[in-house]
């Protein structure tokens, strides 16, 4: 059937995908409204919009996961109606999800044929086909490698191959660059160009404007559920796109004036955490969300150092940013600082007091604020009302309780204040945290942590999954507290955020701080190089001491 259409299209190619008047209402919310998009065959079409603009819903509709209330979908000029993703796959549409859907303990081959056994079997024929696809598009996939041994970028290529294996002619990539370092992004873009050259169509969802301009042939901008315009990447500037996207100027994370003082607030000396012991003591802690996806950790073997001799000092009014590919020890560093994990060696001093052996609660009372990397796991009680979430983590402090007894009235009142001051969009404080959007949940957390005048704030991915408006507010809140002498440890995968917000930058690689940089001069590319272990020492604009620590894995990653 697919072949047949190709023949028809040969004379005057109809667009690969044409969406017209797509409207999707959820009870009370219009997720998509009268959306019109035309994707030309053999192009990379970028779909941009801030979080919550309705990109994901639109793609779910195109992929058959949801049915539109109104509007039409045409594939290769032929009107279609999808009931399940199966229908979409049959019409040659494939989706690469943001979160990889691979079985770690299986080989690439096994992962690819899984669920598609009928196509080419599971043996030599399938292997041949995989090789064929891999070579045709320059994916460089090894069919017999174990997925758990692969880095993030390689996994992504496996996902792409999986989709191609099922005969996809139109690929949807949902935020594919979110997990990659700049070098890997470039490699991905080369792959995409390869796909394009072979006549495939790519729909690329992103909110990173620079990348979009680099790779896309056409750009469609979505705002508040509807298409607000298209742009030509040859002429458009990031600024124009940003304004289309938000309907206003894009906030920048730039910190204006330095507020760094000479008074050390947090001092960490030779902090070391080994893998083995933690497995026994804290089974939960050892499987952080990011770890399995990590590109540099092979397997966490007992005794391997998760944190290796980490020393750093954060002064009052200073934001210290830590760059690194996820799973290189960031989670462990946070947990050691919070007291959720006992370090094997080293000392932590907060404002002159040794807190190395202190409990989490004592540390929190002592002035550590915490914006966790996974707010659902560590920051919220999803099925509890907002005011209970406001108490969480500060149950012993005013205004939440007095002498062991909760003060619900004061807690509720203070929750209302946070909702107001931090612009948490909610109909009230009795609703559960789960019913808020991610950005509003995060604003509640930021408001809560800031309400106790922390001396030191751990901010892990503070704006991940947060819309642009909330992002600016969160940055403002952090900046404002920093002016008042707050010391911040900022961990983020968003290199622009790191560079823009930090006063000092360090790079973590395999549990060690391998490099430092001045955010005023460093570029994301340089940081990316250090994040994969290819550079260390002080990163200067041109002078990279490329004394790579571990050449073997480095090569793998950089490829």
């Amino acid at each position: 059937m697919r072949q047949g259409e190709c023949v028809i299209n040969a004379s005057s190619p109809p667009p690969a995908v044409e969406l017209h008047g797509i409207t999707k209402r959820f009870p009370g919310v219009v997720a998509n409204k009268d959306i019109a998009i035309t994707v030309r065959k053999g192009t990379v079409h970028a779909l941009i919009g801030e979080n919550g603009a309705g990109k994901s819903t639109l793609m779910k509709i195109l992929y058959g996961m949801q049915k539109p209330d109104e509007g039409t979908i045409a594939i290769d000029g032929e009107q279609v109606s999808f009931n399940t993703p199966g229908d979409a796959i049959a019409r040659g549409i494939g989706m690469v999800h943001q979160h990889f859907m691979l079985a770690d303990n299986l080989t690439v081959l096994e992962n690819v044929v899984l669920g598609g056994e009928k196509l080419y079997g599971i043996g030599a024929k399938a292997r041949k086909k995989i090789k064929e696809i891999s070579d045709a598009y320059g994916l460089g996939v090894r069919p017999d490698a174990l997925v758990e041994d692969l880095g993030v970028a390689d996994r992504q290529r496996v996902e792409i191959l999986k989709v191609l294996y099922r005969g996809a002619k139109i690929l949807i990539l949902d935020e594919p660059t979110a997990v990659l370092v700049p070098q890997e992004v470039d490699a991905l873009f080369d792959n995409l160009r390869e796909l394009k050259a072979e006549g495939l169509t790519v729909i690329f969802i992103s909110h990173k404007l620079g990348e979009v301009l680099k790779v896309a042939d056409d750009i469609t901008v979505i705002r508040r559920g509807t298409t607000v315009g298209t742009a030509d990447p040859k002429t458009a500037t990031p600024k124009q796109l940003a304004e289309l996207m938000v309907g206003a100027e894009l906030p920048s994370p730039e910190t204006r004036e330095s507020t760094v003082t000479t008074t050390p607030m947090l001092k960490v000396t030779s902090l070391t955490v080994a893998a083995g012991e933690a497995v026994v003591a804290e089974p939960e802690v050892l499987v952080p969300a990011g770890a399995p996806d990590s590109s540099t950790l092979e397997k966490v073997e007992a005794g391997r150092l998760l944190l290796d001799d980490i020393s750093l000092t954060i002064h009052k009014g200073e934001i210290l940013g830590i760059a690194g590919v996820e799973g290189n020890g960031q989670t462990e560093l946070i947990e050691a600082l919070m007291g959720m994990m006992t370090p094997d060696a080293g000392a932590i001093t907060l404002d002159g007091a040794d807190i190395t052996r202190m409990s989490v609660r004592k540390r929190r009372e002592g002035g550590i604020g915490y914006i966790p990397e996974d707010r659902h796991r560590h920051g919220l009680l999803l099925e509890s009302p907002l005011w209970e979430n406001r108490i969480l983590g500060h149950v012993t402090e005013a205004p939440n309780s007095k002498r062991g007894i909760l003060d619900l009235k004061a807690a509720r009142k203070d929750t209302e204040r946070i909702v107001r001051e931090y612009d948490v969009r909610t109909p009230g404080i009795e609703v559960t945290a789960a019913s808020l959007s991610g950005g509003n949940q995060q604003k509640l957390i930021v408001g809560r942590e800031m309400s106790h005048n922390p001396k030191f704030l751990i901010a892990a991915h503070p704006t991940r999954g947060v819309d642009v408006g909330a992002q600016a507010q969160i940055w403002d809140a952090i900046r404002e507290a920093r002016r008042d002498g707050l010391a911040v440890l900022l961990i983020s995968a968003d290199l622009d955020e790191l560079i823009g917000l930090s006063d000092t930058l360090r790079v973590i690689y395999r549990g060690r701080l391998v490099a430092d940089a001045d955010p005023a001069t460093v570029t994301p590319e340089e940081l990316g190089t250090a994040m994969t272990g290819a550079a260390s020492g002080h990163l200067e604009a041109t002078d990279n001491h490329s004394a790579a620590a571990d050449g073997d894995t480095t090569e793998d990653e950089a490829r």
Binding site: E284, H378, L381, L406, R425, T426, V431
Partner: protein, 371 residues
């Protein structure tokens, strides 16, 4: 905001009502399917409950059940499933009876000693499961079930006459000896020899303590937070391991009290006829009452009603096991209907939040208008 509260109230009632209605309907279907008149046994049960002596039995039984349910609920709130309430309760009743019979103290002290021993034994027995879970990650479900079995054997062995048991003359029953009258809990007499166990009121009062401790204290907040999300609680500063052990100890201590209404109010000794299965009924009640002190009170009365009102069905030619079937069906119906209502509630609230925000009724604007 008011609207949300009303919604929550309606949803709160929807679960139990749905569960009970479907459980009773299912019971009738079971009866009809086995060729028994589906209405008559139920009518008889209601009629039985109109007799005063049965009512007293129901209230007394409800007190015992309520304590067992509280014990289970404390675990539930912490996301721990203490199936061992039954074993904890029996072992506690037996050993406290032994101690009570062995000493004679002035009234209140004697009572206090018995109660404290019971709480201590119950806490000790559940504490084993707590320590195993905290230190070794052993599922409390497995360990408490096993501890139930061990408790049964341990009691049987301790009750041998060569150990602690006392043989009653002219009877096969074994007891632990009689507790002196100073260790009897004063009863509320309603005339005609009808007596309400005094300890039943202690049980209901504990419901208030339970509510206060969980909803109004820091400790209760930590406990609930741990139950709602262990990872979030840990990050918030709760020592999860300590919390597991503490809540198991408290749960066991309350379980230990479950035998007190009967021991201090009626038998004044532990004997072979001491009821088995109270802890399991407690699980049903805690489920049905959704761990709420008021909900569990109703549920305890309902279970006591089914128990006591079905007891005399035999005399009317119906199997009294109809009551047991009913209890079983309630458990199933409760689990299913609560999950349905919970999911519906979450979905509904998310929609509502979306709706209100879309309509521009965000709290911020409301405030601004008000100010």
């Amino acid at each position: 905001m008011k609207k949300f509260d009303k919604d929550r109230l309606i949803l709160g009632f929807a679960g139990p009502v749905l569960a009970l209605v479907s459980a009773f309907l299912l019971t009738m279907i079971v009866l009809a399917a086995t060729g028994i008149d589906p209405i008559e046994p139920l009518r008889l049960m209601v009629e039985n409950a109109s007799y005063e002596d049965v009512q007293i039995l129901i209230v007394n039984q409800a007190g015992t059940y309520y304590l067992a349910a509280l014990a289970v609920a404390i675990g539930f709130r912490m996301n721990l499933f203490n199936i061992g309430v039954d074993g904890q309760y029996r072992l506690a009743a037996m050993l406290s009876a032994v101690v009570g019979a062995a000493v004679t103290l002035p009234g209140p002290l004697h009572l206090l000693l018995i109660v404290l021993v019971a709480m201590f034994v119950g806490a000790f027995w559940s504490g084993i499961a707590g320590v195993l879970k905290a230190k070794r990650g052993v599922s409390e479900v497995v360990s408490t079930i096993m501890l139930n079995a061990i408790a049964t054997s341990l009691i049987a062995w301790l009750m041998l006459t060569k150990n602690l048991g006392v043989q009653i003359e002219g009877s096969n029953d074994l007891t632990t000896g009689d507790i002196a009258e100073s260790g009897w809990f004063p009863a509320v007499s309603l005339g005609d020899g009808l007596e309400l166990y005094g300890f039943t009121f202690v049980a209901f009062a504990l419901g208030i303590v339970y509510w206060f401790a969980l909803n109004r204290t820091r400790f209760g907040f930590d406990l609930r937070a741990t139950g709602a999300s262990e990872s979030a609680a840990q990050a918030s500063g709760v020592d999860a391991k300590k919390m597991i052990i503490t809540s198991m100890l408290i749960s066991g201590a309350v379980a230990g009290l479950a035998g007190m209404p009967q021991l201090l109010g009626e038998t004044h000794t532990y004997n072979l006829a001491f009821p088995v299965g109270v802890g399991f009924t407690g699980i049903t009640i805690a489920l049905l009452g959704r761990n709420s002190p008021v909900g569990m009170l109703f549920a305890a009365f309902l279970m006591a009603f089914i128990d006591k009102a079905s007891a005399s069905l035999d005399q009317n030619g119906y199997a009294k096991e109809i009551g047991t079937i009913m209890k079983g069906l309630i458990v199933i119906a409760v689990v299913v209907s609560y999950e349905l209502v919970r999911r519906y509630g979450i979905r509904r609230q998310q929609q509502k939040v979306g709706e209100e925000l879309a309509a521009g009724h965000a709290m911020k604007t409301e405030k601004e208008v008000a100010a």
